[in-house]
Symmetry: C2
Subunit: 170 residues, 2 copies
């Protein structure tokens, strides 16, 4: 892939807008090589602990959870506005536990530059991340209206803070 | 103050760059009216739980900690590039436990539009936030190099996720 190295903040506004609107792809791969892609709508980019950090949230019921727990690596691939919306919809509603969503959605992948986790070629912004901190949410200090709305099954997210080892753009 | 309501994402790139460079002001006030200001360099803005969220980190040893714990409210006030750098340096190195750093630094304040916590007038971007989730960091899942570098005293941050109730700009 012909990508340009960028600062982790260069695409932050577009990345956050895409997350808010159609979503972005969270790509994971375990050490055995099994990979998955899911759509995320929540996440953020910032400097914490002196490091550029991408934070994502994954419920323990997700197939992605077992992969990220195994490898401690993930990539966030952000499409351009209005692009790959069908794939985003499918990857946000179906599980990769029994199918390959890359094939199902016709998503070509390419190797990343920093980690073993693959990237989705036709995206616009790419963040390759190694988990430096994770924590399962504790509902004792979570607003009750959020618990009721998003966690009726009590499947609270684990929050993964990934050091951005490579940030690139098409 | 003559401020304009903006989307919480309008100033995100500038806010993150200011945090990374000179810092921004975290203003807190307890229910009894005691207030404080400290400088922060880490933090982020994103949509989580369907809400615009500003996340800040505060060590339990800070005076700010007792205030935010009491009221569950905070404001982040972001100066323009190169502005208020002396005040940022002072508010990042001295405690407000025994002095009023607003007076010491000549920082005029004005009422916010959504909460009781005051705003620092001469800033450029303003976020008024109500804590909807907080969690003390758990070092068991934190990279050892980060523990060694930032937490030799084991004073791990509490992470506060504040719903942005008002975001305004000068």
């Amino acid at each position: 892939m012909d990508l340009t190295d960028v600062s982790y903040l260069d695409g932050v506004t577009e990345t956050l807008r895409r997350l808010e609107e159609d979503g972005a792809f969270l790509v994971t791969r375990n050490r055995a090589g099994q990979r998955n892609v899911m759509t995320i709508g929540w996440g953020n980019v910032a400097r914490i602990w002196g490091l550029p950090i991408f934070t994502v949230l994954v419920r323990p019921t997700r197939h992605t959870f077992s992969l990220i727990e195994d490898s401690g690596e993930f990539a966030v691939c952000v499409p351009g506005p209005g692009e790959l919306t069908d794939a985003l919809a499918i990857c946000g509603s179906e599980s990769g536990r029994n199918r390959d969503k890359f094939e199902q959605c016709g998503l070509s992948t390419a190797p990343g530059s920093a980690l073993a986790v693959p990237l989705i070629e036709s995206c616009r912004w790419f963040y390759e991340c190694r988990v430096v901190y994770k924590q399962a949410m504790d509902p004792r200090h979570l607003d009750g209206s959020i618990v009721d709305k998003y966690y009726p099954a009590r499947d609270f997210h684990t929050v993964y803070h990934g050091q951005i080892l490579a940030s690139r753009a098409r």
